[in-house]
């Protein structure tokens, strides 16, 4: 039989254990409560739509023009070669200059005979994922697009048959084509395939935004983080500038004053396509001023102001998504900080030795 003293001793021991368990549970509860508070109020920023901004692992090359380093070299060489133009003076890279994030920094492109073109030069960044090419979407693949500016009288002004003859006469090219596309002749098609393949590899690198969306809270400033929330909510830029490339590959009349009919020249019967142009990527956007298809806005501040006012003109074709945003000055500042966080620091681009 247990004595009363033993019983009391055991009872005290059990009470002590129970008290310890209660304290431990309380401490654990407090810890989790504090963690939740910290997550809600401070260090961990909300990342709306984070899954929609993940960068892809691979570049999608079509099986009929699969990647090889020999093809990439040929495409790069053709891209930088001014002999693809009638004047022997303009290359693809003359307008799509890697130093300007693959644009030209001008409000309108400059073509053959130094004549100004009708639209601003679009970047070729991240086109491997694009649906339709050119500002008005008149080409459905990079292979189809590649020869357009070469043959255009206003741009590179080169007869395509003559181009094939000219390239074929350069012995260095014969070897490059043989290695890149064995069994295929030097032709308009192989030139287009090589340039398209090179362009697919022009991809913007990781930006501060990518690091932040990946979990590094310090990768973007507080302004840029607030700008991200605005981008996805109040300003609703994400309605068109979505996916990791920040474009819906769509066409919208955003209410610019330019008389250019854009996509309306292709889809004449569709009212909302009149004055509509392709949504450009926002990757590295602060390196590509001026802006819009007509280069009419010189700075990103002007672009934000344009959208804040709900566009410049009202007409039937203007997209229903375009409406006044009522952003405060601080919000405009934050949005700008976010846009600047989309710029990557990319490696210098290698300019190839051109074959003779």
């Amino acid at each position: 039989m247990k004595t009363l003293a033993q019983h009391n001793s055991k009872s005290r021991f059990l009470k002590s254990c129970a008290a310890l368990v209660v304290i431990a549970l309380f401490a654990i509860g407090l810890f989790f409560k504090q963690s939740t508070v910290a997550a809600n109020t401070g260090k961990t920023e909300p990342r709306h739509n984070a899954e929609k901004y993940q960068r892809p692992r691979d570049i999608p090359y079509p099986k009929e023009n699969f990647y090889s380093s020999e093809r990439e070299l040929l495409g790069r060489t053709l891209f930088f070669d001014p002999r693809l133009s009638g004047s022997n003076w303009i290359s693809c890279a003359s307008c799509h200059n890697p130093g300007f994030s693959w644009g030209d920094g001008l409000s309108k492109g400059i073509g053959h005979g130094m004549k100004e073109l009708g639209r601003r030069t679009p970047t070729i960044l991240n086109l491997a994922w694009a649906e339709l090419l050119f500002w008005d979407g008149r080409a459905s693949s990079l292979e189809e697009q590649a020869l357009g500016p070469i043959a255009s009288a206003g741009e590179m002004n080169m007869n395509l048959d003559q181009m094939v003859g000219k390239i074929s006469s350069i012995s260095g090219y014969q070897e490059l084509f043989k290695r890149a596309y064995p069994g295929e002749s030097i032709s308009k098609e192989t030139v287009a395939k090589a340039i398209a393949l090179f362009e697919r590899g022009v991809v913007s690198g990781k930006s501060p935004f990518d690091d932040w969306i990946g979990g590094n809270d310090q990768a973007m400033s507080a302004e840029a983080r607030r700008g991200y929330a605005l981008f996805n909510e109040k300003a609703d830029c994400v309605k068109c500038h979505n996916t990791w490339r920040f474009t819906d590959d769509g066409f919208h009349d955003i209410g610019l004053t330019s008389p250019d009919n854009g996509r309306g020249n292709i889809l004449k019967e569709i009212e909302v396509m009149q004055h509509a142009f392709k949504t450009p990527t926002l990757r590295n956007v602060d390196r590509r001023a001026p802006y819009m298809h007509d280069g009419s806005l010189g700075t990103l501040e002007q672009v934000i102001e344009f959208y804040n006012k709900g566009g410049a003109v009202k007409r039937q074709s203007v997209s229903p998504e375009i409406k006044p945003l009522n952003l405060t000055d601080q919000e405009k500042h934050d949005l700008l900080a976010f846009l600047r966080a989309l710029t990557s620091v990319d490696k210098p681009v290698e300019v190839p030795s051109l074959p003779r």
């Binding site: 649906e131 339709l132 979407g137 309605k239 979505n242 819906d248 590959d249 769509g250 066409f251 919208h252 996509r263 889809l267 019967e269 569709i270 009212e271 909302v272 396509m273 997209s319 229903p320 998504e321």
Partner: protein, 105 residues
């Protein structure tokens, strides 16, 4: 258990009764059609419903079945009857990545 099965049968019956014969609904959500390919009979209809938070403009230029829904606000739905046999390519003018094919037999 018997009650639950009865309820399910009743729900299916109501759903079938609500959709007219020869009519299907295709929604637009997250800038995609709910079906990429559908086969229907000549004269059947498809109801195009915008379940997105953006405006769409569904259209087709396929000969014999041309149509243009014009700007279709979120929530709106429009029936289209397909009058000719053949393959009908359907797109959204705003969002060309939205593609679907209707085979009319």
């Amino acid at each position: 258990m018997v009650r639950a099965v009865s309820l399910i049968f009743f729900a299916c019956f109501v759903a079938a009764a609500a959709a007219p014969m020869g009519q299907q609904t295709v929604t637009q959500k997250n800038k995609a059609f709910s079906a990429e390919q559908i086969t229907i009979k000549k004269g059947d209809s498809i109801v195009f419903k915008n379940d997105d938070d953006v405006t769409h403009n569904v259209f087709s230029n396929s000969k014999g079945n041309e149509f243009n829904l014009k700007a279709q606000a979120p929530g709106a739905e429009v029936p289209i009857a397909f009058k000719s046999e053949g393959v009908v390519e359907i797109r959204c003018a705003f969002h060309p990545k939205m593609k679907m094919t209707v085979t009319v037999k």
